[in-house]
Amino acid sequence: MATVQDFSNDVRPTWCPGCGDFGIWNALKRAFAASGYGPDEIMMVTGIGCGSKMNDYTRISGLHTLHGRTLAVATGFKLANSAMKVICVHGDGDGYGEGGNHFLHTVRRNIGLVDLVENNHVYGLTRGQYSPTSQPGFKTRTSPAGALDAPLNPVALAIAEGATFVARGFALDLGQLSSLIGQALEHRGYALIDVMQPCVSFNRAMDYDWYRSRVYKVEDEGHDPSDRLAAMARAFEYPGTSGRIPTGILYRREDVPAYEEQVAAIKEQALAAQPFHARPTEDYQALVKEFI
């Protein structure tokens, strides 16, 4: 059984001191160790952004891809090696902005991926521009008069799109976050974890105290995660004017088959594990006969 140490390497993160990524990093390693899967059994696919360097700082099978393309690369990998657990770790710009179309379609596909989005409401690596989840009026270098766009609500969007596991975590609550990651890894199909994360360098208004005074756990209020309408009501609390940010599992169902369970070629065995020519020679010889 792998331990947190087995998921650790000697690469030092380049994140700013106090970055929310540290909390997410620790929660991930804790969840991996608790999951029972080894570093060669979990593929961590990341995009581009500060938090997407997560797999450079973690001893794990890793794919560090292009900005916004995390889910697409992960989908291809999962379909080719469905025996591995696949977790995507990327920011709000990557997941909801550049990768917005992939997000829409990955959700409704219900493919077996954990999609952890480090949502700090700002672009960090490019040094401070507003993101798809930024609050209106947020002043940055690309929005000197304040952002005009309404923020995207990833949690409501995912529920509306038919997501089967929708959760929100907080980078400072390691216990809750590692538990969410662990449950998501065991989920049948696509699992979104939107993680509230402070950016100490470029989004100082939304600092630790700002989040702490707003987050609450939905289970503390008797929320039923199988109730889709109740989940949607919680989802609409943030972004919004409620002053509250619901965390925990907002919506979950386990009775929907994952995409990969329904693809004939990989029902029995992952593609990567199958023989090079999976069918008898006669089958390949027969192909040309269709044209005679």
Partner: protein, 578 residues
């Protein structure tokens, strides 16, 4: 030289079954002993408009259509207006009795106008939709093609819909042929000799490539529909369950290429494809494949641009894009096959080359190749020809005998690193990063590593170049005129060359398939004894002539066609300056 050379054209509105009827008739002619080439001409619409399908049938292999039409099967009066001026003097027109012949359309035409109650026969024996069966059966009668070939193809095509539909079509065919025989007999006597008995396949280049991909062990394909590449995706999807492939119709081309990269990283043979606009969207994803060194095959079926351009027409205008697109400097292979069997071979080679160099291989085709069916000996597509070379792919057992920590991106003399896909034990735990990375895979900005990584890519490119084959030569070893072609311009050019030589001229043809990296020494050698070089392309700027000059210093004249229509020998001869 060909003795028999018959061109059929079936014209009608979109939705009248012109393309499916044409493809079926091409197959019937093949079974009757002809070599055929058949190509559709259609507009970007589902219903209405004017579509036509042209089939050239000969006693010798043919690769291009002809400008002159011997038998016109007019499913509407528009067909008579459009194609009457292309009719040869001794041919025939098959048209329904009820179809109005536009005033003057057939004035001066000396061939047979076979007016038959085609629609009535279809209605009486089956249904109105079977009118094209009636028309094709009548045409078969007029040229002496055994009706059993037409009926055989129809029966197979409709077999899925049940015996009743097939039987009704058979009745329609027999009635129409009988009436045509009574009224007109056999109009054209091609005098077809006994044909060799070798089985012929009738297929377009897209399906030839896709079939090759399956035989080459392709396990994953992702794509988004776009004319004219779509039939590759459809073929693969149609065979996915039976052959154990995962085929994903993605949300867009960006999704498709990145899915293919992800699948390739897992160690399975993976591909995607598109036409120009979709390929544009994929380009960043291709650079990811280069950075993390995964084998990837991309099928690019060209059509005229820019933007949506002429969506159902043909062009060879994306050559330089295929070679140079993307930021950064990284090697790739571009192959431009010219026949169904070359497309098939290109698929077999592409997957091997992609794995040997852990790199991108683009197979460059075009709308003409994508939609034109040709009859070719079935043995050219035999599974026995398939050889698999997975390059430096390692198994888990092999990596464990290395006796040292495995480095996924190890520097080697040829730039290619041993590859162990993820999910293969502790040694397979590494990062593959789009950032500059160390041999182990970690992100770095070290200037020395930057140089090493660039050199690694350059070494791969040099290896690829050594692997590229010299162009094909057709015709005499030495000639006054050398025609240079790549991809689909071959067919019409080869025929033009043969006509020049038959008329006492002196011409040969050099056909390029391996376009990039251009094997410069082999190309110089192939063109060393030439006098006048004319490069024939379907683009407006002479892209290959430009490439040839840039890479070898050789200058060629350009003979270009860029109206979206396919080349013919007639076009080439008319535009070849004396």
């Amino acid at each position: 030289m060909v003795m028999i050379d018959l061109t059929f054209r079936i014209g009608g509105e979109a939705g009248q079954g012109v393309e499916s009827g044409g493809a079926g008739f091409a197959k019937a002619l093949t079974r009757g002993g002809y070599h055929v080439v058949g190509t559709p001409d259609y507009y970007e619409r589902i219903r209405g408009g004017h579509n036509f399908f042209t089939i050239r049938a000969s006693d010798e292999p043919v690769y291009a259509i002809d400008d002159e039409v011997d038998v016109l099967i007019a499913m509407d009066s528009e067909s008579l207006v459009r194609h009457a001026d292309k009719l040869s003097a001794k041919g025939a027109v098959v048209v329904d009795e009820a179809t109005k012949i536009p005033e003057g359309a057939l004035d001066g035409y000396s061939g047979t106008v076979a007016r038959l109650p085609l629609l009535q026969i279809a209605i009486d024996n089956g249904a109105a939709v079977m009118v094209n069966t009636a028309a094709l059966a009548a045409a078969a009668q007029l040229v002496g093609l055994d009706l059993q070939h037409v009926v055989g193809v129809i029966t197979e095509n409709f077999g899925r819909k049940g015996g009743a539909v097939a039987e009704a079509n058979r009745q329609v065919a027999q009635q129409a042929a009988r009436l045509a025989a009574e009224r007109y007999g056999q109009v054209i006597r091609p005098g077809l000799a006994d044909r060799p008995s070798e089985a012929q396949a009738v297929l377009d280049c897209n399906r030839a490539f896709a079939m090759g991909a399956i035989m080459a062990g392709c396990k994953f394909a992702a794509g988004y529909p776009m004319t004219p590449w779509t039939s590759v995706l459809e073929y693969l999807a149609g065979h996915a369950d039976a052959y154990g492939l995962v085929v994903k119709h993605a949300e867009d081309e960006i999704g498709a290429v990145n899915m293919a990269v992800g699948a390739a990283h897992a160690g399975v043979r993976a591909m995607t494809g598109s036409s120009g606009g979709g390929f544009d969207l994929m380009v960043e994803g291709l650079s990811l494949a280069a950075a993390i060194e995964v084998p990837l095959v991309v099928y690019l079926a060209q059509r005229p641009g820019p933007a949506t351009g002429l969506s159902t027409r043909t062009a060879q205008a994306d050559l330089l894009m295929a070679i140079y697109s993307s930021h950064g400097e990284w090697p790739r292979i571009v192959l431009a096959p010219h026949t169904p069997e070359e497309h098939f071979q290109a698929a077999l080679r592409a997957f091997n080359l992609a794995e040997r160099y852990q790199s991108l291989v683009i197979v460059l085709s075009d709308e003409y190749s994508s939609t034109t069916v040709m009859s070719r000996p079935a043995s050219l597509f035999a599974f026995e020809q398939v050889t698999i070379d997975r390059g430096k792919l390692l198994t888990r057992a092999e990596v464990e005998t290395l006796g040292q920590p495995y480095l996924r991106f190890q520097m080697t003399a040829d730039g290619v690193s041993p590859r162990l896909p993820p999910g293969n034990g502790p040694q397979s735990v590494y990062l593959a990063s789009s950032n500059l990375h160390t041999e182990k895979g970690h992100i770095t900005e070290d200037p020395q590593v930057a140089v090493q990584a660039a050199d690694k890519r350059r070494l791969k490119g040099e290896g690829m170049q050594r692997e590229m084959r010299a162009p094909y030569r057709y015709g005499p070893a030495e000639a006054e005129l050398t025609l240079i072609t790549w991809g689909s311009s071959y067919g019409a050019a080869r025929e033009a060359m043969e006509q020049i030589n038959a008329q006492g001229g002196s011409a040969n043809l050099v056909q390029f398939v391996d376009l990039w990296p251009l094997p410069v020494d082999a190309v110089r050698e192939a063109l060393s004894a030439t006098k006048r070089l004319v490069c024939i392309e379907t683009n407006a700027t002479g892209q290959f002539a430009h490439l040839l000059r840039a890479e070898t210093g050789l200058r060629a004249e350009s003979l270009l066609r860029y109206d979206g229509r396919p080349l013919t020998a007639g076009y080439i001869l008319a535009h070849l300056e004396a």
